[in-house]
Amino acid sequence: MREPVEKDRGRPAVRATGLVKNYDTVRALDELKIEIPAGTIHGLLGPNGAGKSTLVSALSTLISLEAGTAEVAGLDVSTHPGHVRRKIGLVGQSAALDEILGGRQNLVMFARLFGLSRRDAASRADELLAGFSLVEAGQRPVSTYSGGMRRRLDIAVGMILDPEVLFLDEPTTGLDPRGRIDVWNSVTAIAERGTTVLLTTQYLEEADALADRISIMKSGRIIAEGTPTELKRQRGGDRIEVSAATTAEARAIQTALVSTGGPEIDLNEGTGVVTCPAAGGAGDLSAVVRRLDAAGIVADDIALRRPTLDEVFLALTETEDA
């Protein structure tokens, strides 16, 4: 086969447009478009069945597409799947390891399959065991590993060739907080070495903590994209929430804040929480406190709230339904 032309150095790690994949009646990918700059961690968020795994499978050459083009590391996945496979590491949604073999045996076997000589495979395995804190468990069968260790070994296998692009499909699902943090550290370390990471997740705080940019996916489409901060800003800026013990007090608070010229003061009668925008952040907070003081009102609680990614996510995925 002719060597495919590799594109310029500044090319994105992943570039896909118009991707369509149908399963029976389900449109798993619906004219999907995504671009991931090289060297970044890209978070892919979406509810169950959004098509995250389907996208990962398509980009890692596992499934055929009905329409659209996808390039990974500058290579077309449909016309040059073999070349793409040399550039990627895939860590699928379920740990793809040999449970009977030891961790080291797994690494050596996969490294040999990747074309490494016996000696290189052994030293690469030892390197990776050390890098993923699995040296002590290296000889034990994988069936005795904890979920976190299994996931780290799984990622280590994906890293054998030091791929240009690493796909991680829900790497922390089912892990305890300790295991999750271990995996997060591994992912950060991988990205620091220059590998582009596409990470799907159900956990918004995970995307928030790790990802440079986030795509929110629903029904086979990307419905929002940006840095975590950008996405949160879309949802509205910081807010101040003042809670009152009674509805009457809450009304008094609302009146006090409105009378001093604040716009969009919202009162939730049910919870007794008064919310106002706070574009000025902490400065606005002290202004509110002063106003309440002047009006002689003692509030239950006053807090500056930033929108969370959860709110962004819920808002986006809900409005699409309507």
Partner: protein, 260 residues
């Protein structure tokens, strides 16, 4: 040839499994040996052969043939488990040849079946079975057994790749191998069966191999006339060839179809 290299690496994975869990293959062997003992001692006295002969001489080649045929289930299950656990998908995401995964499976299963044949031969010798022909004929008999194993291996790979995901379908195959295995001349001579049953049993590919292996070992075949008497060797080569010719392309197609 990278495809051979990859196949060998994958076959070695199974050998490493035996090193880690020697009990699994040992239990499989014990099961075959138990069947051998049950038929030799419990039914042996009551089963008569056309043309005479001691039952153990008739039984052992049949048991070996049956063991080869039951291999279809081992191959299918192993293949299906890898697919379920996502290991197959990982292989598919790696820069290896499409055929390597199946070749690795084939290599491992052929090695384990060779071991199985050797154990059964030893067990047979302990029970009084003897081969009376030349060593060369004996080797040819073993080759025919492995040839059958090689053929059903591709049925196993094909089934594992296609219906492996469906628990019910794999159980169905596991159940079906029994009547298919028993509807043959492995345990009893078709000539003493009801007419229609005897005809079905004679045409069973397993019967061809069993008869040819019996002849080559110099054991009683339980066949005194009919086409099987004359052409068992040819049939023992042709049946597996036909199966292989059908199921190798089907397996390749099933593997490619994982891309859907």
């Amino acid at each position: 040839m990278s495809i051979i290299r990859e196949g060998l690496i994958l076959s070695r994975r199974d050998l490493a499994h035996w090193g880690r869990q020697p009990w699994t293959p040992i239990f499989n062997l014990l099961f075959t040996i138990m069947l051998l003992l049950v038929f030799a001692f419990i039914f042996g006295g009551s089963i008569e052969l056309p043309g005479g002969g001691d039952y153990i001489h008739f039984l052992l080649p049949g048991m070996m043939t049956l063991a080869m045929m039951f291999g279809v289930e081992t191959t299918m299950t192993t293949m299906a488990n890898d697919a379920k656990k996502g290991i197959t998908d990982r292989f598919r995401s790696m820069p290896i040849s499409d055929a390597s995964v199946s070749l690795g499976r084939a290599g491992a299963d052929m090695i384990s079946s060779t071991v199985e044949i050797i154990i059964l031969l030893i067990g047979g010798l302990l029970l009084g079975w003897r081969a009376t022909n030349s060593p060369l004929a004996g080797l040819l008999a073993v080759a025919l057994l492995l040839w059958l194993r090689f053929a059903v291996l591709w049925i196993g790979i094909c089934l594992g790749l296609t219906i492996g995901k469906h628990e019910g379908a794999t159980v169905l195959v596991q159940v079906l191998v029994w009547p298919i295995g028993f509807l043959s001349n492995v345990f009893a001579a078709p000539e003493f069966m009801p007419n229609w049953l005897g005809a079905v049993a004679s045409w069973n590919p397993i019967s061809a191999t069993a008869t040819a292996v019996r002849e080559l070992f110099g054991n009683p075949t339980g066949v005194t006339d009919g086409w099987l008497n004359d052409y068992s060797l040819l049939a023992a080569v042709a049946w597996p060839l036909a199966i292989t010719a059908v199921f190798v392309p089907l397996s390749a197609r099933a593997y490619r179809r994982l891309r859907r």
